[in-house]
Amino acid sequence: MAAFFQQVVSGLASGSIYGALALSIVLIHRATGVINFAQGEMATFSTYIAWTLVTHHGFSYWPAFVVALVVSFLGGVGIHEAVIRPVERGPRIRVVIVTIGLLLVLNGLVTWIWSGEVRAVQSPFPARTIDVGGVAISWQDIGTIAVCLLSVLVLGAFFRCTKTGLAMRAAATNPAEARLVGVRVSRMLAVGWGLAAALGAVAGMLTAPSVFLSPNMMLTVLIYAFAAAVLGGIDSPVGAVVGGLLLGVGLNLLGTYVDFVGSDLGLPAALLVILVVLLVRPAGLFGKPRVRKV
């Protein structure tokens, strides 16, 4: 039984990472109706920045973490202004293609700047475990869950309790009327991209210690995050986090106890989740079913 709970906790840890990345996807989708295929590569890029600060510029972990978040925020705003805004109102397929282009560019740039070498990243958390009622839980898992949930809570508080957050929600829900009452809609969307990039960076920096840092580090995480977002409902922030946690625990247990799945079939399982949810309940667990106007 102890082994089971251990798997649940480590599933929650990876699940909170999926949830954080899923939430950043949901943020962008809610605000601009775009699915950002480059979200994972943006996170990888941020993680490399943090890694450079730590290894080459003598930063300790947490200051580097914060600097990387700020840089990611600015990067997200910049990407929105430079390439997303011009296509935002056009056909969806053009936006998809632009984010795919971003994926390629960022992935290539990471390889170009930092080479494709796989690098070990030190975890900011102690490598010890803590004993909770016979279950050994690693500090790495606890730290990951804590940082992810903290980021999500801070973001939630920002949207609920600040004027900018209110304006952003207004811009996402009804751009035309938000503009009428004086909200700078376009600026709000750009801030949304910035926040999503920063949240993605959190996911990236927490992923790196357990899987090593490499240019394709976030590709699988991105698929899990897509699955989490779809499972929770692609327009629901709560759903994204819950979907991420469910998926993390589910995949971990599936991999441990079902020999057929093992460690290889996680991605196909996530694909199956995506397809089944989209076909059976496209709104996901927490989304509101959308009524199509004819």
Binding site: G33, V34, I35, F37, V83, P86, V87, R92, I93, R94, V96, I97, V98, I100, G101, L102, L103, L104, V105, L106, N107, G108, L109, V110, T111, W112, I113, S115, G116, P215, L219, T220, L222, I223, F226, A227, V230, G262, D264, L265, G266, L267, P268, A270, L271, I274, L275, L278, L279, P282, V294
Partner: protein, 333 residues
């Protein structure tokens, strides 16, 4: 205006002639690269039918190529089927796979379809690796020098010509590419093509005109996947080797780049798209030796094209034609 089809036919015949004599003027290595242009042309034709004409985006066409490639390889190595005979079988198998995927996918629209197909592209290599007994796992299937592969050990004698392996692959892939291209043109100019375009432009209007959305989309998926299957089988024959990394997620993305370069929803620029996919990495290597450089160039071109020239090469051709036609409209002073 009556002359237009004739002129198109003449142009097409001239291009086919160029394709036919090209290997005589280039070295073996170039012939191999041009063979790959032919292979990508097959895949791009198929993808453009689905995405450009029927409006269903696919970010996972590399996975259909993988099905074609593995079907051909397994038939050759385990069942002793000759390479030429594996291609129609790969087309059938992949076509069926396309229909089977199309059945659920027809209910997804726009972004969700992009998401699902992207997940397929990412999941494909892991899935192939898992079923080791059937696919050879991570090591893949090595076809090098097996007797089922035409011209692999001795040059092929054909109509009095002697073709070595690369030239044989070149003619094989371009024959299929040209046949596929003509077939696509025939499909798209008739009733089926009109149904595809109707679904793309407005699903509601298409349904009101009595077009079955599911049937049309599933058909588009099937046809498109069959093309990808042919391309995948050719790919396997040409490289004489397949493993899960032969069909990575980037392959699917490169195919998307290819149809954006050639122009989504037009057959005219497809050769340019295929040339771009094959030769771009080489050009990019002159900018930087880093393996990341081609990705940056591919992605950059993709973004710039969507922002500046959404019609791709075909759009360029169309606007050039408009310019010349307008000049003819006015009598010369």
């Amino acid at each position: 205006m009556r002359r237009e089809p004739l002129r198109a036919l003449a142009l097409f015949a001239a291009l086919a002639a160029v394709v036919f004599v090209l290997p005589a003027f280039v070295n073996d290595f170039r012939a191999q690269q041009f063979a790959y242009v032919g292979i990508y042309l097959v895949a791009l034709t198929g993808l453009n039918i689905l995405t450009g004409y029927a409006g269903q985006i696919s970010l996972g066409h590399g996975a259909f190529m993988a099905i074609g490639g593995y079907t051909a390889s397994i038939l050759m190595i385990d069942h002793g089927v000759r390479d030429i005979a594996t291609i129609p079988l790969a087309i059938i198998v992949t076509g069926i796979a396309g229909v089977l995927f199309g059945l659920p996918a027809a209910r997804l629209s726009g972004l969700y379809l992009a998401l699902a197909t992207f997940a397929i592209a990412v999941a494909a290599p892991a899935t192939i690796k898992r079923f080791e007994g059937f696919t050879g796992g991570g090591t893949g299937v090595n076809l090098f020098g097996i007797p089922e592969l035409t011209a692999s050990d001795a040059p092929l004698q054909l109509f009095g010509f002697e073709l070595d392996f690369n030239n044989w692959i070149y003619y094989l892939s371009w024959t299929i590419a040209i046949a596929g291209y003509v077939l696509a043109w025939l499909i798209l100019r008739g009733r089926t093509g009109r149904a595809f375009r109707a679904v793309r432009d407005s699903e509601i209007a298409a349904v009101s005109s009595g077009i079955s959305l599911t049937r049309t989309k599933v058909l588009a998926f099937g046809i498109s996947a069959a093309y990808a299957g042919a391309a995948g089988a050719l790919f396997a024959v040409a490289t004489a080797f397949v493993n899960p990394d032969t069909f990575p997620v980037t392959l699917s993305i490169f195919l998307l780049v290819g149809i954006v370069v050639s122009g989504i929803g037009s057959l005219q620029g497809l050769v340019a798209g295929a040339v771009f996919i094959v030769f771009m990495p080489l050009w990019a290597q002159t900018v930087s030796k880093s393996p990341g450089a081609p990705f940056v160039v591919y992605g950059g071109v993709l973004i710039v094209l969507v922002l500046v020239l959404p019609g791709g090469v075909a759009g360029l051709i169309a606007s050039a034609r408009r310019l010349t036609r307008r000049r003819q409209d006015f009598p010369k002073p």
